[in-house]
């Protein structure tokens, strides 16, 4: 079953779509079982003493897999239009790596133990490298270098030793448990070090100081950045962090050792700083990238509250932010395809030219900011509750500040686009004809934008899945 | 560099000397090495088990025959190694050594003397090989002497003449055949159902009982050794003395 997830559609889009729908279908097949709260296991041969390649489908993984695979379809559709629109080279390689990375994402989502997680994590890093450097020019290469060096470097330097440490300490067992993998007798210093090693080691979560790969990876074609920043990579990072918190340490142990605050401080710092940086960015994609850094820090922050609300908020935020941010990136891409504009300053008055896109952009940014009636509201709300529950008012304040900052760096774009006239063409406003990006681009982004809305109205599924882990 | 070398050497020497304090005294007949069952086994049982009074030969060719086989192989490797490193086949006189008149070795007297003593040297060498069971000697010593005799011939009559007697191809064949004799003899034991180099297996095809079979087999392997050593000694000389051209001797 999972094996199918790893199949590589070597051929073209048709196969890709087929695979995508297959994947989604399978996940939906597994959905009811998971909803009944039981946990599916698929184990392959043991590769290390006591450690099999194991897949374990539980609520959190389910939620993540759902988001990823459903958005994958849209991304595929979108990238179809995008690649065709720009007549990119090497489309075969592109789609192969694309599918590969998504499969790796699912693998991470369903990984049953740290080793499996790690393996798929590395596969993901490697398979996205060609995507990031797709353009093959100098800029892309340097971007790719930072990308790979950050991701591989941190994972090898921090995660691997931490993992082996757990392996040794836990007597040769790395399976995720509902309780704690490590016994409480490891000192709080060691625990803190290991926890930090994990949280920073999964650099895909973009926590500072290991965030700089994210803006650099913006050289990639937009579908890729959409994939990276909304669906696959970054979410894998935070997902791994959540896994470590809940599955390896167990919230209780962390509470006992009282080591979460450090993480939360790092996260808070990241949130504020990244939002401030985002304000200064003119390149739209870079701005979005920094906002992603911030949003991811939300998730880590939420987990580090160690309260069920916090975890719920984080888990939900994975989904919500995914929909919101992918919309934004789709829009950015669509603008680029249609007009070739990359910079925020150029987008003044663009709303008349591409209303649908800019509307979607508006919705997406609202969802990110977390205003009702958009999905983002739920997660923000729960994060907030979590903060209060953990009576860390400072953090709550941070959340509010950052939301304001979100507004500051996101909203102006659509507002300017709609209500201000493009400077070069004052006078003959009426003559501007609507010139949207190709259909294949516009449809998915509108879908996701609406999805953000729907997620506000029907969040039950997400909650059910999340409660599977938070309750108890 | 020099000073570091000196320091390293001194450290090594100090280490080694530090160990000598708890060594048994020299000439101590009760030192563990000398009164260990192994050596006493060699001394006491050798003659009874192999009918060879010269224990060194017995140990060399029988108890540790496996070692000696590889020892022969070492010589062989040295021979072909030298050729592989030094010999340049792409020369004017690569395959056929053309005679050079100025390469006629020593003067008349030297040639005359050599022609007198060469036969005796070679006979003595063969004696050393054959009589290794009862007196100091054996394949290596005899082989070296035999090789030396050819080297002497080369010195006296010029390498090219010596090469006529003992051409490079023939040298290689001799060397290989020597090891063939040794190893093949061991394999023969294998074929007769005993372990490798277990000469007792061959008593059916050799005169005398199993013990004599060992004794005889030792002679045979020694002959094999002698073959190889002779050939390689000469090949070493002829290559080294001519920088691998094999044309013009010293």
């Amino acid at each position: 079953m999972i094996l199918l997830f790893r199949k590589r559609p070597d051929a073209r889009e048709g196969v890709t779509f087929l695979a995508a729908f297959l994947k989604l279908g399978m996940i939906f097949m597994m959905l009811p079982l998971v909803k009944e709260g039981k946990i599916l296991h698929f184990r392959f041969g043991e590769i290390l003493p006591g450690i099999p390649i194991e897949f374990r489908v539980d609520g959190l993984g389910m939620l993540f897999a759902l988001v990823a695979s459903s958005l994958w379809i849209l991304t595929t559709l979108y990238s179809l239009g995008y690649m065709r629109g720009l007549k990119e080279h090497d489309q075969t390689r592109f789609f192969v790596c694309f599918a590969l990375s998504l499969s790796a994402t699912i693998g991470v989502a369903f990984a049953g133990n740290l080793l499996t997680l790690y393996i798929f994590y590395e596969i993901l890093s490697l398979s996205t490298y060609p995507l990031v450097t797709h353009n093959g020019d100098k800029e892309a290469r340097s971007g790719g270098r930072t990308y790979l060096s950050h991701l591989l470097g941190t994972s090898v330097a921090f995660v691997l030793p931490a993992m082996i440490y757990c392996y040794v300490k836990s007597g040769g067992d790395l399976n995720f448990t509902d309780g704690s993998l490590l016994s409480t007798n490891i000192g709080s210093d060691a625990g803190l070090i290991v926890l930090l090693a994990f949280t920073l080691g999964f650099a895909k979560s973009g926590l500072m100081p290991f965030h700089s790969w994210l803006p650099n990876a913006m050289v990639a074609p937009t579908p890729v950045s959409a994939l990276l920043h909304a669906v696959a990579v970054v979410k894998v990072g935070v997902f791994c962090v959540i896994r470590v918190f809940t599955g390896v340490f167990g919230t209780d142990l962390i509470e006992e050792l009282d080591i979460a605050t450090v993480i939360s401080y790092v996260a808070a710092f990241t949130i504020v700083v990244s939002s401030l940086i985002a304000l200064t960015q003119d390149n739209l994609k870079r701005r979005l990238a920094f906002s992603t850094v911030g949003q991811l820090a939300y998730i880590v922050l939420g987990v580090s509250f160690l309260t069920s609300n916090g975890v719920t908020g984080s888990a939900m935020h994975i989904a919500m932010h995914a929909f919101g941010k992918i919309t934004l990136f789709f829009c950015a891409g669509a603008i680029f395809v249609a007009t070739g504009k990359k910079y925020v300053s150029q987008m003044v008055g663009l709303g008349r030219q591409m209303p649908v896109t800019m509307l979607a952009f508006l919705l997406g940014s609202l969802s990110i900011i977390g205003l009702p009636p958009f999905g983002g509201a739920w997660s923000k709300w729960y994060l907030f509750l979590g903060a209060l529950e953990a009576d860390q008012l400072a953090m709550a304040v941070v959340l509010i500040i950052s939301s304001i900052l979100n507004i500051a760096y996101l909203l102006p774009i659509p507002i300017n686009a709609f209500f201000r006239r493009p400077p070069q063409e004052d006078g003959q406003v009426e003559t501007i004809k609507i010139k949207e990006a190709p259909m294949a681009c516009v449809v998915p982004l509108s879908i996701t934008a609406v999805g953000g809305l729907l997620l506000f109205i029907f969040p039950e599924l997400g909650f059910e899945l999340v409660q599977l882990i938070t309750k108890k | 560099m020099k000073i570091f070398g000196l320091i390293a050497v001194l450290v090594v020497g100090a280490l080694l000397l530090s160990a000598t304090s708890d060594f048994p005294d020299w000439r101590d007949k009760d030192s563990p090495a000398n009164k260990s069952p192994v050596s006493s086994f060699y001394i006491e049982k050798t003659e009874k088990l192999t009918k060879v009074p010269n224990m060194v030969t017995a140990v060399l060719a029988d108890y540790r025959g496996y070692d000696t086989m590889f020892e022969t192989v070492v010589i062989f490797i040295a021979g072909i190694g030298i050729i592989a490193v030094l010999r340049n086949f792409d020369g004017p006189n690569s395959s056929s050594i053309k005679r050079e008149n100025n390469d006629e070795g020593g003067g008349l007297l030297a040639r005359f003397t050599c022609s007198l003593i060469l036969p005796f040297i070679q006979i003595f060498a063969l004696y050393v090989v054959a009589h290794g069971h009862h007196s100091p000697g054996g394949g290596f010593q005899g082989g070296v002497m035999l090789g030396a005799s050819y080297i002497l011939a080369a010195l006296a009559f010029g390498l090219s003449k010596a090469k006529d007697i003992f051409s490079e191809r023939r040298t290689m064949i001799f060397a290989a055949v020597g090891i063939f004799i040794y190893v093949g003899w061991g394999v023969l034991c294998l074929l007769f159902g005993k372990e490798f180099l277990n000469y007792e297996a061959l008593d059916s095809i050799l005169p005398g009982d199993a013990k004599m079979a060992r004794s005889h087999s030792m002679l045979i392997v020694e002959i094999g050794v002698a073959f190889t050593v002779t050939a390689i000694m000469f090949s070493m000389y002829s290559n080294l003395s001519t920088r691998g051209r094999l044309s013009k001797g010293l």
């Binding site: 090497d90 082996i164 | 496996y66 190694g81 050729i83 063939f180 294998l190």
Partner: protein
């Protein structure tokens, strides 16, 4: 029949060498065929040996040369001893030799003009020597076999260009010092114990309780020094890089995977079999810490030196130095997982070094330039070769599921278990450095300008590029490469079983 396997493994290539020499220079092709057959048969036999040893009815094959029984508890003859560890290493050796012979088919003519029979004879004798080293149970016989391998490798290296000759000379000096140190150590053991058989030495050491005698300690130190010199352990590594880099490419591919690894095997064997863990790891000897820190030094220095090089073969040779550091450190960390991890790394490192060297020499052959920028655009020019190279490189970096990952895993966990963080960090560091090295190369190979094609515009989709002059190499080189890379993966996949065998075998030894 089974009981004769060990000696047969040795005899077949030995005869092969003789036949090759007898065939002479006129028939190079037959020389190749002969050595191919002999090495193939020998590796087949060693494979069956593994099966026989695993089948359990004979945990350890003992083979008494000349059929001499032991007299009151002492071996008077020479004895071969093959347990699962030896069987595995022997199989690795013979198999590498076999595959490499396939590889050398087309190259031999070009690289050793007119000396083909000698080349193949030396190669087979090298394999014989290595197998003998692994299987023998006699300390002095071990010395002789070490010298056999050394002599063959001196000659093989010196067959190259003039720099090869020079580095080979240094190798002669260093190698002789190493072997002689080993010989001195054995002599000290002999003078105290009066026997040369490894098991008997162990027995006598135990009976007379000679552990704390100065001479025994010195003997241990000198044997270790000798073995380290032969395996190019860090401060003594001077001879290796030049020797392997300038030797004929086939020679490099033969020796780089085998020599150092077999020497590491010898080291582990001496540590475990002759002296025993309680002596080696006993707390009142300071050397444990020292050696591990030296190995840390070796790893770091090897990686950095490799990083500083631009010549691909030099890079690989310095990486070997680092890998030797892995193994020495691992085996000195602790008994049990450390030793087993080091031993597993012997196999995996042999596989990946083999893979990388073959790939590198193919590329150098095709591109005609051994510097890193020879890799520009190679992914398009020689995709198959680059795939092989990539597998080896990933294994060097230590990414799953290649075997490099698992050996690192075991070694690091050993380091953490022994509480020796310096070692673990050094491993991590070196794998980071490897990542840098190889991804630099990948980037070149991936984006590098192909002659005549502008960088910003690759021909889309199709690999058919009109002006690619560099084509893939003949099958006789690609097949070995793929066998090598396949074995890298295979070792990784079946690491668990291997590891358990190794551990059990080591346990058997230590009891």
């Amino acid at each position: 029949m089974t009981e004769h396997f060990p000696v047969l493994i040795l005899l077949v290539p030995l005869f092969g060498a003789l036949i090759v020499v007898l065939l002479g220079r006129e028939r190079p092709d037959q020389c190749w065929v002969t050595s191919l057959i002999s090495l193939g048969v020998s590796s087949l036999i060693s494979f069956f040996t593994i099966i026989a040893v695993l089948s359990g009815k004979v945990q350890t094959l003992r083979y008494r040369m000349g059929g001499w029984p032991e007299s009151d508890g002492y071996e008077v003859g020479i004895e071969l001893r093959v347990d699962i560890l030896a069987a595995l290493v022997v199989f690795a050796v013979t198999f590498v030799g076999f595959v490499n012979t396939i590889y050398s088919k087309t190259r031999a003519g070009a690289e050793v003009r007119g000396k083909i029979p000698f080349f193949y004879a030396l190669i087979q004798l090298l394999i014989v020597g290595l197998c003998g080293i692994v299987m023998t149970n006699d300390a002095f016989n071990l010395y002789v076999l070490i010298e056999i391998t050394s002599l063959t490798s001196y000659a093989l290296i010196a067959m190259g260009n003039r720099r090869a000759a020079l580095s080979s000379f240094n190798y002669v000096i260093m190698g002789t010092i190493g072997a002689s140190f080993y010989l001195i150590g054995v002599g000290y053991l002999y003078i105290k114990t009066g026997t040369l058989n490894i098991d008997d030495i162990r027995m006598v050491l135990g009976q007379n309780d000679l552990w704390e005698h100065q001479s025994i300690i010195v003997a241990f130190i000198f044997i270790m020094l000798g073995v380290w010199t032969k395996m190019a352990f860090f401060p003594l590594h001077g001879w290796l890089p030049n020797a392997y880099a300038y030797a004929p490419s086939m020679t490099g591919t033969f020796m780089a995977p085998l020599m150092t690894k077999v020497m590491v095997y010898v080291m582990i064997r001496v540590m475990v079999w002759v002296f025993g863990n309680e002596f080696v790891y006993s707390s009142q000897h300071v050397w444990g810490e020292i050696v591990i820190w030296m190995s840390v030094l070796a790893i770091v220095a090897g990686s950095l030196l490799a990083l500083a090089r631009t010549d691909i073969k030099k890079i690989l040779t310095y990486l070997i130095v680092a890998e030797v550091g892995y193994m020495v450190g691992g085996s000195w960390l602790a008994e049990g997982i450390g030793q087993a991890g080091a031993f597993y790394h012997i196999l995996s490192d042999a596989a990946m070094t083999f893979c990388l060297f073959i790939a590198a020499s193919i590329i150098v052959l095709r591109v005609g330039d051994s510097r890193v920028n020879a890799f520009d655009g190679l992914f398009r020019k020689m995709p198959l070769t680059m795939i092989g190279f990539t597998v080896g490189a990933l294994s060097m970096i230590g990414l799953p599921p290649t075997c490099g990952f698992f050996s690192k895993w075991y070694l690091i966990s050993a380091g953490i278990e022994a509480g020796h963080w310096g070692y673990a960090c050094a491993l991590i560091f070196s794998s980071l450095v490897n990542a840098v090295i190889f991804f630099r190369i990948f980037e070149r190979a991936y984006f590098g300008k192909i002659s005549g094609v502008k960088e910003d515009h690759f021909p889309s989709d199709s690999d058919a590029n009109p002006d690619i002059r560099i084509k893939e190499v003949p099958w006789s080189m690609l097949v070995p490469l793929f066998i090598a890379s396949g074995s890298v993966i295979l070792l990784g996949i079946m690491n668990r079983g291997l590891f358990e065998w190794i551990q059990t075998a080591l346990k058997i030894m230590n009891t």
